[in-house]
Amino acid sequence: MITSPAPGQTAAARQWFLARTDLASLVDGIRATGRRLIGPTVREGAIVYDDIHSAADLPAGWRDEQSAGRYRLERRTDDRVFGYTVGPTSWKRFTFPANLPIATAHRTATFGFDQPVPEVTPMAFLGVRACELAALNVQDRVFLGGQFTDEDFRARRAAAFIVSVQCTTSSSTCFCTSMGTGPEVHGGYDILLTEIDEGFVVQAGSPEGAAIVAKLPTRKPTHAEAGAAVDNVEAVRTRIGEPMPIPGIDARLKLQLDNPRWGQIAERCVECGNCTMVCPTCFCTSVIEKSDMDGKVATTERQWDSCFDVAFAKIAGGDFRARPRDRYRQWLTHKFSTWMDQFGSMGCVGCGRCVAWCPVGIDVREELMIIAPPIAPVVRPVAVEPVAASPGNFSVARLASVRSETEDTTTLTLTDLDPAFLQGRPGQFVMVALPAFPAVPISISRFRSNGIDLTIRAVGPTSTALVNLHPGVKVGIRGPLGTFWPIEDAYGRHAVVVAGGVGLSPLHGLVDALVANRDRFESISLFYGTRTPEDQLFRDDLAAWSVSKAIDVAVTVDRAGPEWKGRVGVVTTLFDKMSWDCSKVTAFVVGPERMMQASVQGLLSKGVPSDRILISMERHMECGIGLCGHCQMAGRFVCKDGPVFRLHELGDMFNREGI
C-alpha cells in the first residue's frame, strides 16, 4: 500500500492506524499494565460489558437491532468489532456497583462501626461511547460535585483507564444528538478508536494512553482512512435524524405536572424499574443490614434501588408517591428537569437503554413530546400573504355599509380592497386604522364576494370612531393576519361551534364555511350563549341557520324578560345536546376568556379530545405580526402563532392566572 501523508498536520501528528488483525496488541498491551480489562462481549444473547481476557472475547462480526422493548443480536456481514451500539450493561456497574458493602458494625467485646477503605483494582474500560462518557461526567457531578461525596465512586473512577470508541453505527433507540452528548467523542478518554473498514484510527488522550499506543504496531493513516473515520461518525448523526426539541424541556415539564398523560403511562408501566437499572446515570440506592443471628456482627450493604418501588418514598406517616403515575412522573421529571436544578445538567444522555430494555416498550422520547411538546414557534400554513404587513403601512378600503348588531356592536362591510383580503380564512383578523387613531385588531366576521365584514364592539377610541363612520369613507387595513380555523380537523366528525357574546364574530365565517361543506361533517352544531337576548349578534343569520337543515342552532341567555321564550341558562348547559360519541367531536370555541374556560372544561368532561378543541385567544395587539411583544402568552405571540390555537398546544397555560 502506498502511504501518503495524512491530512491536517496537527491531526496527523496525533493519529495512527491499527489494523483490525492487530487489535489483540491493544488488548494485551492494556492487560500487561496489570489493569482489569472490561469490555464488550457476547453473553445471553446480548453484548454486555464483562472481563476481557483476549481479543477473541470481543464481539467481532456482531450487531444489535434495537427498538422499544426489543433487542436482538445479529450477525454482521463484516468482521467489525465495534459494529453495535449500547447493550444492557452500563459502565456504572463498575464505577458504582450494584451491591456494595459500605460498613460493618459490631457489638462484641467492643462496639463500633467501620467503613471500608475503597480498595479498587486498576481497571480499563474498552469501548466507551460518547453517550457513556457523558454519563460518567454526569456521575462525576452527582457523586463528586457537591459538599458530600462518594469516595468509593471517586476511587473507582480514578482507577479507570478509558478506551473510547466512536460510534459508527446507531440504533433506533439512540438519541444522543438530541441530548447533545454524541455521536462524536470530544475528550475524556485515554485512547480513542474509530473503526473503519480495515481497522482503527487511533488517537491518544493522555500520557498513559500515548505510552500504550506507542507500543502498538501502528502506522500513519492514509488520507482516505482519516477521512473515512470522520465520515463514518458524521453518517451516524445523519442516520439518527432530526434531534428532538429538548432545549427548554426542563421548564416545560415543570408546567405539566398535572398532565393526564402521566396516568395513561401508568396504565402501561409495570414498574419493574428496569429503566432505572439500565440507565447509566440513575443513582438511587437503599441499604440493607445483614447480621449474624445474635445481631452482634453486622454488614451494611448498599444496593441499587429504584424510585419505581412502591416503598421507595414511604415513611411511617405514609407514602408520598402512592400512585404509579406519581412514580413515573418522578423519574421522568428528574431525568429531564429537576436534575438540571440539582446538578446543572440533564440526567439523560440519550443512550436509549431505558427505551430498549423496557419490557412493555415505553419510549421516553414519545412520552416527552406528548407531555411537554415544544412551545417553539409553530410554522403554520399561511392562508394568503398579508397585505401591508409592516406596521404603519396600510392598504385602503372603502366602507360600504354599517349595520348595528346590538346596542354597542356594529358590523362594517368593507369593499374596494386588495383581493388578498378576500382570500383570507375564517379566524383571521385585520388591523384597522383611521388617521390619528391607533390601529386595532378586528376579526373578519364574514367573507363576501367583493368585501369583508368586521364586527366591532365600541370599547376604545378607535373602535368607537369606526362604528360611528358613514358609508363611503375610507379606512386603512393590514392583513389578513394570524392563524385560521383548521376546518379539515372536523372532517368526518361532529363540528361543534361554541360562541359566547361577541365571540360569535370570529366564528361567523367558520359557520359559513362549515355549512357550505355540510357533507364533509357528521353533524354541525352552533351553541351560542349571551347575557340577554338583546346581546345576540347576527340575529338574521341565526334565524336563517335555525331553519336550515345544515346546522343545529341552540341559543341560550343568562337572563331574560318574560317575552323571551327561549332557553335561559349558561352556555355549557347546551352541551347536554351532544348525545354523540364525544371523542368524535371537533369543537371551535370563542368567547370571553372565563366563558371559554367553562366551555373547555365542559367539553373535556364530555370526552372531547384536547387536540380537537380549538380556541381563539384575545390579547392586546399592536403590530399584529409578532414584533411589538404585547400579545405574548406562554411563549407565543397570539397575533402570529394564534389567535386560533389547539387547546393542547397551550398546555396548562390556558386557564392559568397571570399569563
Partner: protein, 265 residues
C-alpha cells in the same frame, strides 16, 4: 405464657396442610445455620424432622400448605389460638399453591378423573391461602421458600427488628446480578416484572423465565403485563398458563386469570 421471659428459647412449631413438604425441607437445608438455629430456638413440633409431638402454645408457628380439606378448617383456627406469631411459608400457604388451579375448574369432574373412588376423597372445592381463614403475622413466599429469607426472618426475631424482606420486581435482582433481560433480548416469557423478589432471580440465572412462584408484588400491574405478553404474539391461553401457576390464586393474578379465561381461545 410459659415461654415468655428473655432467657427462654422461643418455642417453634412447624405445621403443614396441603403441600409437598418442600418448604419444611428448606429449613433442614439451612445446613450451616442449623446448629445455630436449634441452639436459639426450641423446635417442638416439626413433622419432617421428628415424630416428637408437643402441644401448644407456641411462640412461632410456621405454617406450610393450603386449606384444601374440610378438617383443615378447624385445625388452622386451633393452631392460630396456640400461636403467638403465625408465619405462613411457601406458595401453598401464602397463595393457595398449584392446587388452587382447581378453584377455576369443576372439582367433582377433577376428582372423578383422578381417583378410582372419588367418593372417598373429602377435599374442599377450593384450595385457599391461610390468610383467607386466620390472621397471618408474616409470610415467606416462594415454591419453595428462599433459605436466605428464612434465615433473615429468624435473625430478625432474635435481634428484635423487622425482617428486611423487600417487595420489588424480580427484574431488580436480575439487573443487580447483571443478567440480560430475556424478555427483551430473546422474547422469552417471564413473570419477573410482576413477581416479588426474594429468590435472587433463581430461574433467570439459569436461563429460563420467572414463573412467578413468589407471587404478585404489591400493586403489580398484571393487566398491563398480560396485555404486553399477548401483544408480543402469545395466544391468551398461553398467557393464562403463565399467570395460573403456583400463585395464580393471589390477587391481582387471580383476576387476570379470570379475565383471560374470558378471552381464552
Amino acid at each position: 405464657m410459659a415461654t415468655s421471659g428473655r432467657t427462654a428459647r422461643p418455642r417453634v412449631a412447624v405445621a403443614k396442610f396441603a403441600s409437598c413438604d418442600g418448604c419444611q425441607l428448606t429449613i433442614l437445608d439451612l445446613e450451616e445455620e442449623l446448629l445455630e438455629i436449634v441452639t436459639r430456638f426450641d423446635i417442638v413440633e416439626f413433622p419432617e424432622a421428628t415424630s416428637r409431638r408437643s402441644p401448644g402454645p407456641y411462640d412461632i408457628v410456621f405454617v406450610e400448605g393450603s386449606i384444601s380439606a374440610r378438617e383443615h378448617l378447624d385445625a388452622i383456627k386451633e393452631l392460630r389460638k396456640q400461636a403467638r406469631t403465625l408465619v405462613t411459608i411457601g406458595a401453598c400457604a401464602t397463595a393457595g399453591g398449584i392446587q388452587a388451579m382447581r378453584n377455576w375448574a369443576d372439582h367433582d369432574a377433577f376428582r372423578a378423573s383422578v381417583y378410582e373412588h372419588p367418593e372417598w376423597i373429602e377435599s374442599l372445592a377450593t384450595s385457599t391461602p391461610i390468610s383467607d381463614h386466620v390472621k397471618v403475622d408474616a409470610e415467606l413466599r416462594g415454591c419453595p421458600i428462599d433459605p436466605g429469607q428464612l434465615k433473615e426472618l429468624l435473625t430478625a426475631v432474635l435481634v428484635g427488628r423487622r425482617p428486611q424482606i423487600r417487595d420489588e420486581a424480580v427484574c431488580r435482582e436480575c439487573k443487580r446480578k447483571g443478567l440480560v433481560c430475556m424478555v427483551v433480548a430473546t422474547g422469552e416469557a417471564c413473570m419477573g416484572p410482576v413477581t416479588t423478589s426474594g429468590c435472587d432471580a433463581l430461574c433467570p440465572t439459569y436461563g429460563r423465565g420467572c414463573f412467578g412462584c413468589f407471587g404478585p408484588r404489591a400493586n403489580a400491574n398484571a393487566k398491563s403485563w398480560s396485555t404486553s405478553l399477548m401483544k408480543s404474539g402469545r395466544p391468551p391461553d398461553e398467557v393464562w398458563r403463565l399467570f395460573a401457576g403456583f400463585t395464580g390464586y393471589a390477587e391481582p393474578f387471580r383476576s387476570t386469570i379470570t379475565e383471560l379465561g374470558k378471552v381464552k381461545s
